[in-house]
């Protein structure tokens, strides 16, 4: 199970976790067993790249293009978010 999160890792939402827009309150949320996580704009932007196929570094590359920002900074944000979500059981490393 617990494969490590590094630049080559591929992540996905585990079964039972879904991302959707929360029109009533604004923004996006992750719906999980007995819990709801409200995503800020940055977290949502990152999560839109999570498809269970792209690696962490491919996701970072995509975000660098989208936001024309420093790669190191984006990589740091992506890894921080993924670590936090993995700790809470709402994201998994599949390879």
């Amino acid at each position: 199970m617990s494969k490590t999160l590094d630049d080559n890792a591929v992540v996905r939402l585990p079964r039972g976790v879904r991302m959707r827009e929360d029109a009533a309150r604004g923004g996006w949320v992750l719906l999980a067993p007995e819990r709801i996580f409200q995503l800020d704009a940055i977290a949502h932007a990152i999560m839109t790249h999570v498809d269970g196929e792209r690696s962490v570094s491919q996701i970072v590359d995509g975000l660098v293009v989208d936001y024309d920002a420093e790669r190191d900074r984006i990589r740091h944000d992506v890894l921080a978010l993924f670590h936090a979500l993995i700790d809470r059981g709402v994201l998994e490393v599949i390879s």
Partner: protein, 373 residues
């Protein structure tokens, strides 16, 4: 609109809907959160009625629906209702005893889009399960059901209500959760409302047992981090501060009873004088924003001065209204569990007395029909 009522501009929409589809249940647990006066099958909303509630919930802003009861599988239309949830984008959580759902029906629930299963366990073995649930053979059925849920890859949470008759089994429940492949285990000390209040003298554990239990759970949470998530609901009669009941009255969750009453919480009907609205006569949004019961205890303005100047006001909102009423006779009082409450000593004494009683369970059953002579 010129006439926008105050509540609508300040109250956020609910995140969760607890849909109590029926009060019928094959188990008879003495701590059931249903009211002592159970609603009958003939009073239940029909399929179209529940589907309308689900659609209105989605439009109102609800994200998660907890399909509960009683035993929700006692409703023949459970699969249809799960399908409606999925169609409306609602996250569906089935809260079940797991003794009556066949493989075929579970397959249909999965195909309809069920997101998560929460399965109750009354004991960590056959003997305790039968004693607490009042149903023979329930333990084996639950284990088999858990196996089928996991075989389908559906996420599984085990839910256990802790009390005097099973508090010694915490390690066994953890072992069971691991063995059955559950991702989460909820260990919730009994909350004394409804049937549990009636059975308080049979359920209340002793202080030493509670402290041991809390230590065991904390150790297991550390040990199993990443393997099994353990949620712990503390026994509030033994606490210094109240729980943030429902995260505030009418703030996040709406309950709908089998007959369609919209409630701010399970036990709200124990508070006299509250006017509840029914989904048969009112839209769900109307009930949430405008019904007298939902607006009765919104916010914290009604709480006594001790609460107003307390730095925990935004944490626990003065605790539970039903518990305040029960102990002090006034639902506007602070929760008597709080160490700042003038009734705190009284609840401590009561807890000590109740934990020393040796009463048999009054099992959860429908009252006998009384007929005029």
């Amino acid at each position: 609109m010129n006439d926008m009522p105050r509540a609508e501009t300040t109250v956020a929409p609910p995140m969760g809907l607890l849909a109590e589809l029926t009060h019928r249940c094959p188990l008879q647990c003495p701590y059931c959160s249903n009211p002592v006066e159970l609603e009958r099958r003939s009073d239940e909303l029909d399929t179209a009625g529940w589907q309308r509630v689900l659609r209105e919930a989605a439009a109102l802003g609800v994200l998660q629906v907890h399909l509960s009861g009683g035993e929700p599988a006692a409703r023949p239309d459970l699969v249809d209702l799960v399908e409606t949830c999925a169609r409306e984008g609602l996250y569906s959580n089935l809260i079940t005893a797991g003794v009556s759902i066949t493989s075929e029906r579970l397959a249909a629930l999965e195909a309809a889009g069920l997101d998560h299963v929460q399965l109750s366990f009354q004991g960590a073995d056959d003997v305790v399960t039968e004693h607490v649930s009042g149903m023979r053979g329930a333990f084996d059925k639950k284990c088999a059901f858990a196996g089928e849920v996991r075989a389908r890859g559906l996420p599984l949470t085990l839910n256990v209500v802790l009390h005097r008759a099973n508090i010694h089994q915490i390690d066994d429940f953890i072992e069971l959760a691991l063995r059955l492949g559950a991702e989460r285990l909820e260990l919730a000390h009994a909350q004394y409302y409804g049937w549990a209040l009636r059975n308080r003298g049979a359920l209340m554990p002793k202080r030493a047992e509670v402290m041991t239990a809390l230590r065991t759970v904390e150790a297991a949470q550390r040990r199993l981090k990443g393997r099994l998530a353990i949620d712990s609901v503390v026994p509030d009669y033994y606490a210094h501060f109240p729980k943030p009941c429902m995260n505030g009255w009418g703030q996040q969750t709406i309950n709908v009873t089998p007959s369609g009453l919209g409630l701010p919480c399970h036990a709200a009907q124990t508070i006299p004088g509250l006017e509840f609205w029914n989904v048969r006569e009112h839209g769900l949004a109307d009930i949430w924003y405008h019904s007298p019961a939902f607006n009765a205890f919104r916010g914290t303005d009604f709480l006594p001065e001790t609460c107003q100047s307390c730095d925990r006001l935004d944490i626990d909102h003065g605790g539970c209204r039903c518990q305040a009423l029960m102990m002090t006779g006034d639902a506007r009082q602070m929760d008597p569990v709080c160490q700042h409450s003038p009734w705190h000593e009284e609840i401590q004494t009561l807890t000590l007395e109740e934990s020393g009683r040796d009463e048999p369970f009054a099992y959860r059953r429908f009252a006998k029909h009384t007929r005029p002579a």
